[in-house]
Amino acid sequence: MIGRRAFTLGLASLLGGCATHHQSGPATGLPSTSKGYRPPPDSDEAGLWLAVDKVEQAQKRSPSRIRDQAANALVQDIICRLAGDRCPELRPYLVRVPEFNATCSPNGMVSVWSGLLLRCKDESQLAGVLGHEIAHYLRRHSLQRMRDKREWDDMMAFMQFTLQGPLAKTMWDISGDVRMASISMFSRDHERESDEMGLVMMADAGYDPFACAETWRQLIDEDKAGDVKHDFNFFLSTHPATKERIETLQQLAEQRGRPKTSPPNRLDQAIRHLRRGFMEDEINQGRFKRTEKLLSRLAADGNDPAGALYYRGELYRRRNKDGDEASALGFYHESCEAADPPAEAFRGVGLIRWRRGEAELAREYFRRYLDRAPQAGDSDMIRKYLSGA
């Protein structure tokens, strides 16, 4: 990293002192900002902030924004516990996207995707991810990466006009490869730094540091299920291999130890009423294996087994391959027996029983469906089944 930079700067000064930002160094080179920091108006950093200000403006107005008060209040509170006096600079936006992700932009906009909220077993897991993202913000990683890429691209532009002779093409190609590998390596260094800082922040705030590695184990499980492929490329990946991250996070957690008092866990309370909508988004993704893995884990983690079982049933019903109807029926039944089942689980049982000619059993479940959802949009149709038509 340092060698390459020296080369860039050497070349740059040779060609007229053109590199305008010399202060970036290796991954840890740029100083963290202090409380209330705003970039100088004429700086490249201010431009970066303005660009994300525009994204934030759109985010504010987006129909996919989750405006639910309880969920927003919890995320804001976790951010404040993690960021301390930097909390006023960070503005969370909950977004309905069924993927595991959160981002923290250089201007302090924090995006938390619904797929992340759904996958977090407890508040500690969510705090771990938020801590990681806040670390990116505090360490100004976006700015560092922007400058790193600019230096590379500027250097390549000069090489384009100055490389001469028979080896020019080879040198150009090699430089291009080194550029890609170096930019990716720089990014991986940032991810490692954020993993470590995030874990320290969440453990300091009283959360369970072992939750960080656990989150990644869950993700590996989903990925292994098959229908989404992530190949790790040693040179070009922008994030370290998940296995390496798990090992490091596990080691760091062991150094910290479990928290002395039980960590806050208000997640279920804050998103309970949203979770089933998130599950529905997941089954709409059309990734059967992955979603099956996720829902079976959610059914086991105890936050909303009835909901997870119902949507698992829906997943099978929609795929409708050999034996899927029987699986769907099984999950609907299990959902009906669990605490606080969705009304639709009873309808699910009723419809399959009806198709199988088990009219009496079907009617019983239709009645239970209507008891729970008398105003449902399809209630007239269900009453037709009951009246024996």
């Binding site: 740059a12 060609l15 007229g16 002192g17 053109c18 590199a19 305008t20 970039p39 108006p41 004429d42 700086s43 490249d44 201010a46 431009g47 970066l48 902030w49 303005l50 660009a51 403006q57 759109a58 504010k60 107005r61 987006s62 129909p63 405006r67 922007m146 600019r150 590379w152 691209d153 500027d154 390549m156 532009a157 000069f158 006009f161 100055t162």
Partner: protein, 235 residues
């Protein structure tokens, strides 16, 4: 001189892109009535950036802010000087669906404007289905904007302006000395449309083609750019 390094490059730019000051216009869809029409000024979409040696543009916050202020002044001066009636668009609350509509229409305006440039003004690319007519629209949803200011037409403006970074200027010198190839500097370009608030139809359109001239960072130059964009607007 801040845009490019050396007269050589300026000369090449003039030779290669000499049509820079030319602007397109059309009034084909405009139907005049006796009453003086009123124009609603949509928030202009302006970005000023630095163009790096590597060729990417990096937004500059200070320049953009200055350009927005200069354009606001120059636009109002211009409209007043031609005696046009105009009102400001009153942006709705962020939570309102209309706020998002504005974002979408701003993006759509830039996209439609580029399409007009390509498929109306390039004779070879003219779309047969248009049958030679100037027929472009931002869609009937535009009518909702009329609730945020009483007017007949909305004026949309999209402006991009960039300046060579010090590294790019050095690259221009190196390229000129070593291989004699001109490397372009910063570029200014713009689009503006007058849109019928009842139908969404673009009734008048003007494009400022990419040119290595102009400077939205100063009020005087901003006036010149505004003039190029708007001087053929129907009075």
């Amino acid at each position: 001189m801040r845009r490019t390094a050396g007269t050589l490059i300026v000369l090449a730019a003039v030779l290669l892109g000499g049509c820079g000051a030319q602007s397109y216009r059309t009034t084909e869809r405009l139907v005049r009535t006796d009453a003086q029409p009123c124009i609603m000024l949509m928030p202009p979409d302006i970005e000023l950036s630095e163009r790096t040696a590597g060729g990417t543009t990096e937004l500059n916050a200070a320049w953009t802010k200055a350009a927005e202020a200069h354009f606001a002044t120059a636009l109002r001066e211009h409209l007043t000087s031609i005696g046009a009636d105009f009102v400001e668009y009153l942006p709705p609350d962020d939570a309102s669906p209309d706020a998002q509509l504005l974002d979408e229409l701003q993006s759509l305006h830039a996209t439609v404007g580029q399409a007009i440039l390509e498929y109306h003004f390039e004779p070879a690319l003219r779309l047969p289905a248009k049958k030679g007519q100037f027929d472009w629209s931002l869609g009937p949803e535009v009518a909702k904007l009329a609730e945020h200011g009483k007017a007949d037409y909305a004026l949309f403006v999209w402006l991009r302006d960039s300046y060579a970074s010090p590294a790019r200027m050095a690259l221009q010198v190196v390229a000129a000395l070593v291989v004699g190839v001109p490397v372009s500097g910063g570029v200014q370009q713009g689009l503006c449309s007058l849109v019928d608030l009842k139908t969404g139809q673009v009734v008048w359109f003007n494009a400022l083609l990419p040119r290595e001239a102009g400077d939205m960072r100063t009020l005087e130059e901003s006036r010149a750019t505004t003039h190029l964009l708007l001087d053929r607007m129907p009075k």
